[in-house]
Symmetry: C2
Subunit: 139 residues, 2 copies
DNA sequence: AAGAGTTGGTATCTTCTGGTAAGTAGTTAC
DNA sequence: GTAACTACTTACCAGAAGATACCAACTCTT
């Protein structure tokens, strides 16, 4: 009976779509979304389509490998579309789909939160370091 | 020196802390927030304080190493607080700070988005796979 | 006609991160 | 004496991320 119960629990978990459950497709999707490059790419595309090298310039520090990898994954998941114009040289435009635009608001909100609250976080870090130093001295 | 409006000061701050710039503190903070375990921990704490083993149970699949690492990082950044009760056995409670609560809404929104749109993403993936297969056959 | 520049990427190598599994401390119950 | 409980810590290793070099096709410059 134990085997059946475990299998049933797994099956129920898949149906429930709970991001807290390991192996749940939603958990995997959250993993994909929780990515620095994903946030930046989606934020960069949130005010209109951009070309590959345009994104490379906008998102400082992204390597071509990670940019391609991220763009491919997001295209696969229907969050952005890739349009190739066979001009010379070839031109590739990336644009958010409606699904992607519905996500963009959330991810740019997180990015904006980071920009707004960085000072508070910085202050908290200094308090933490100071506390750590005192604890090390005392202990 | 002309008086600067709040809007102007905000604009300056936004330019100074641009998450798109590599090495910028905001970029680093976004990197920290763009983490699967961070999203899940903050979401799990969004409806009240929880203990370590409570979080471990709630967030299926998290290893003690990553849970501790994530909690420490978030405590350091002032997003949650850690309260040790020296009972036997010892008891540790984690709770979101006001700063953490202001973030929780955003991160749970992303989590909820994942739960809501997983089917659309799944459908997009199947379309992508089918297109890929056709392209491989044609080419 | 040779060389530089542009675009949108691969290929390769190194570094680093995260999962697994085991161990630790301090106490208490059996 | 040993097992259990809580909240971790540590060692190890596969795999992912990141830096860097390179590529093909074409145009523009000299």
């Amino acid at each position: 009976m134990a085997t059946t119960t475990a299998a049933q629990r797994r099956e129920e978990a898949r149906v429930a779509y709970d991001a807290f459950l390991r192996g749940c497709p939603t958990n995997q999707l959250l993993d994909r979304l929780s990515d620095k490059w994903v946030s930046l790419v989606v934020a960069a595309l949130s005010d209109g389509p951009r070309r590959y090298s345009d994104l490379r310039r906008k998102i400082a520090g992204v390597s071509p490998k990670m940019l391609t990898q991220t763009l491919r994954a997001l295209e696969r998941d229907g969050i952005l579309s890739r349009a190739v114009t066979p001009s010379v040289p070839v031109r590739v435009d990336y644009e958010l789909t409606p699904l992607g635009r519905s996500l963009a608001g959330l991810l740019t909100a997180v990015k904006d939160w980071a920009e707004e609250h960085i000072e508070e976080v910085h202050a908290a870090r200094e308090r933490y370091e100071a506390r750590e130093a005192r604890a090390a001295q005392a202990g």
